[in-house]
Symmetry: C2
C-alpha cells in the first residue's frame, strides 16, 4: 500500500504539479483512506522522499557498528554510499523526484533538512573518533565535504537522467575528499600521489639526529 501511495502521488505531481495535488487526491487515486496515508507519511513532503528515514537509520546503524580499527574518513565515505545506493535502486523514480524538487521550493527546503540530518549523522560519528582539541572542527568540516562530494556526483548522475556509472562517479568524488583529509588507504595514495615525495613531521625541539633517523626510516634507507 505504501508503494501504491508513492506511485499515485508521483503520477499526480507530474500531471498536475505538486502544489495542486492534495492528500485527498492521492488517496482517491490509490483507492485507500486518508488514515492509511498518514500511517505511512507524516506529511505530503514525506511521500516525495519515502526512503530517507530508512536510509538515515541504516547509516546510523552502519556508523555505530564501526570498530576502532576503521579509518574514520573511509568509514563516512562508505556511509555516504548508502544514500547513493538508495537513489540508484530506482533511477526513474529518482530522476523524476530530482526534477520535481528543483521546481518546488517547499520540497527544496525539505531536502535541505534531510541532507542536514545525513551530515549530522556523519559528523556525530566523526566526533567520537576525532577527540583532539580540534575534533569537532575536523568532524564538521569532513562531514560537510563528504556530503558535498557525494551530492555533486549524485546530481551529475541525476542530471544525466540516471545514465552512467553512479558508483564510479561517487567513488571519484569521495576520493577527492579522502586525499584532502588524509583518509586514503595506502593503495589508493600509491596510485594517486607521486612516489618521489616524502613528508616528515617533527617537533621543533627534537634533536637533529632523531629527525635524521626519522627521515632515513621514511626513505627506507636504514
Amino acid at each position: 500500500m505504501r508503494d501504491a501511495l508513492v506511485a499515485a502521488a508521483f503520477q499526480l505531481f507530474l500531471e498536475r504539479g505538486y502544489e495542486q495535488t492534495t492528500v485527498d487526491d492521492i488517496v482517491a487515486l490509490a483507492g485507500v483512506g486518508r488514515r492509511s496515508f498518514f500511517r505511512y507519511f507524516p506529511s505530503k513532503e514525506d511521500v516525495v522522499f519515502p526512503d530517507h528515514e530508512r536510509c538515515l537509520a541504516d547509516m546510523t546503524a552502519f556508523l555505530a557498528e564501526s570498530g576502532e580499527a576503521e579509518e574514520p574518513v573511509h568509514r563516512v565515505c562508505d556511509a555516504a554510499r548508502l544514500v547513493l545506493r538508495m537513489y540508484a535502486e530506482n533511477p526513474t523514480f529518482s530522476v523524476q523526484r530530482y526534477r520535481l524538487t528543483k521546481k518546488v521550493p517547499g520540497l527544496r527546503a525539505y531536502e535541505l533538512s534531510v541532507v542536514w540530518r545525513y551530515e549530522r549523522a556523519l559528523a556525530e560519528y566523526l566526533r567520537t573518533r576525532f577527540t583532539g582539541r580540534d575534533g569537532t572542527l575536523q568532524a564538521d568540516v569532513i562531514a560537510a565535504a563528504v556530503v558535498a562530494a557525494h551530492n555533486n556526483a549524485l546530481r551529475s548522475w541525476l542530471r544525466s537522467d540516471g545514465k552512467g556509472d553512479s558508483d564510479a562517479a561517487v567513488d571519484h568524488a569521495l576520493g577527492y575528499v579522502r586525499e584532502a583529509f588524509g583518509g586514503a588507504p595506502p593503495a589508493h595514495r600509491g596510485g594517486e600521489q607521486p612516489e618521489d615525495v616524502v613528508v616528515v613531521v617533527s617537533r621543533r625541539d627534537a634533536p637533529l639526529w632523531r629527525v635524521v633517523q626519522e627521515i632515513e626510516s621514511a626513505l627506507g634507507r636504514n
Copy 2:
C-alpha cells in the same frame, strides 16, 4: 523603524515564545501598522534574520570583485568572514537569536536555507575559478568545507555567549580548510600551527645531506 520592529519582535519572542507571537503583536508593540512590517520583512521568519539579505549581497559583490590574481580558497575564506562580522557586530542579539533558533524548528529550516545560499554563492565563485575537469566538484566541496568550518567556530562563539575572540576562532577554523585544500600562504601557516612542529617535504631521491640542510633551515639552526 526597521530596528524598532526587530527589537519589538525579539522582546516578544523571548517573553512569549516565537510561535505564540503574531505579526499583529509585533506591530502593536512597535507602534506601527502591519503594512510597515511587511515593507521590511516578507514573513515572520525574516525578522529573525534581518541582515542576511544584505550580507548575501555583500558577499556576492565581494566575490564578483575578485581578480585572477586572488588565490580562490583564500578569497572564499575572506568572504565567509563577512558573515562572522555581521554576527559579531551585535553579540547580544546574535546570542539571543541562536538560542531562539535552536528551539524553533521552523527557524532552523529557514536558517538552513540561508546557509545553503551562502554556500552556493561561494561555490558559484569557485566554479568560475576552477575550470578543470573536476572544477565543480572542487568548488562544491571547498565551499561546503568553508561554511562548515565557519559555522563550527561561529557556533562555539555563540555557545560561549558571544565572549571570546570570534575572529581568532574563525581564522583558526578556516586555516584548517586552507591547509587541506592548499590555500594557505606560508606566513599564515606559520601563525596558525603550533610553533613546535616542523613539516618538511622532500623528494624521495634527494641526497640526505640536502634534506638535513632543509630541516636545519626550517628549524632556524643554520
